[in-house]
Amino acid sequence: MKQVLLPGVAAVLLAAAFIAARPFHTGEPLSKPSAAGYKIGDEATDFKLKNVDGNFVSLSGYKTAKGFIVIFTCNECPYAKAYEDRIIALDKKYKPEGYPVIAINPSDPVIQPSDAFSLMQKRARDKGFTFPYLVDEGQAVYPQYGALRTPHVFVLQKEDGRNIVKYIGAIDNNHEDADDASEKYVENAVNALLSNKKVPLETTVAVGCGIKPRG
């Protein structure tokens, strides 16, 4: 009898404990840890992503580049739009110096229809983008970098064939007015790298449009 009862009692107790425990353990945490991604000094992954011209682009294709200004951006975010002309200016200034801009659109067009491939092509055409504007198909690349918003910049420097992260953050400190930006973070970073100096400010944070993962 004892042997029969015990498992029964244990089962009831276990079930009771489970039911009692559920409300306390299924709740979401009140604070989410920040997303993982690259830190300064990490090696950035290469990728093979489709450009608006239909060709695929990889960092390894840039044989003579000294590094890259990788910018996660998109079509409609007001911050991204405010920075478009400055992104073009960065490419014009630093591509000849060996640091071309590589723009990547991390949005899922199902969630963000304004970021459909055809609209990316139109945006690149209308604005006269001088740099590749790539689709992060399946949103595979942006989480590896740890891009959280648009625009979000990662300045990379080639070291022995590896792309090392040297700066992460905003383009400058005034999205609204380029002429009133007193801290040009990306320019300062690339200028430092070009003269073999340490990047003065390696990370910055700024408000931008959050990148939404699908599902």
């Binding site: 709740g27 979401e28 009140l30 604070s31 989410k32 840890p33 920040s34 975010c77 007001p78 959280l148 918003r149 953050g169 905003a170 400190n173 005034n174 999205h175 609204e176 009133d180 930006a181 007193s182 801290e183 910055t204 944070v205 700024a206 408000v207 931008g208 449009c209 959050g210 939404k212």
Partner: protein, 163 residues
């Protein structure tokens, strides 16, 4: 969602309703406000009218604000990061959506790299973001959209029924 955007658009065009005063602040002013309410449970939500997930979570926040409207220890403060130039658009949005929590506009663009980490070292500037202070101490930082269960948990923990 489409319906909400439509309502939003209509709201922008027919901005005729009474407009809420929106104080324009620097970060120091915001810190003062947090300090002023240090005897309360203060929920601060950073948002903007252009931020789609912010607009999506707004009904949940308004529901909480309504529920605790008369609670003497509850205060909700919505900190808009809209441009100062879009103040009119922001006020139109508030009127149209009947948002009656206190709204301030943080006009401190050039110092984002100072005040974002000052709010929380983990905050990267994503919107929306919500901070909860209880009696002057930060007790929650929600990076991204809030959920009903998070708000419920906060209310259960910090807001006892007032009567």
């Amino acid at each position: 969602m489409k319906k909400l955007l439509f309502v939003l658009l209509v709201g922008m065009i027919s901005n005729v309703e009474a407009q809420q005063e929106v104080e324009v602040l620097k970060f120091e002013d915001l810190k003062e406000k947090i300090k002023k309410d240090e005897n309360k449970t203060l929920l601060i939500n950073f948002w903007a009218t252009w931020c789609v997930p912010c607009i999506e979570e707004m009904p949940l926040l308004m529901e909480m604000n309504e529920q605790f409207r008369n609670h003497p220890e509850f205060k909700m403060l919505l900190v808009s990061l809209d441009s100062k130039k879009s103040l009119g658009k922001l006020q139109g949005f508030l009127a149209k959506h009947k948002i009656d929590a206190e709204v301030v506009l943080l006009d401190d663009n050039k110092r984002m790299n100072e005040w974002i980490p000052a709010m929380d070292s983990q905050w990267q500037g994503n919107l929306p973001s919500t901070f909860v202070y209880h009696r002057g101490r930060k007790v929650a930082f929600i990076d991204g959209e809030v959920t009903r269960s998070q708000l419920q948990a906060l209310a259960d923990r910090y807001l006892k029924p007032s009567k």
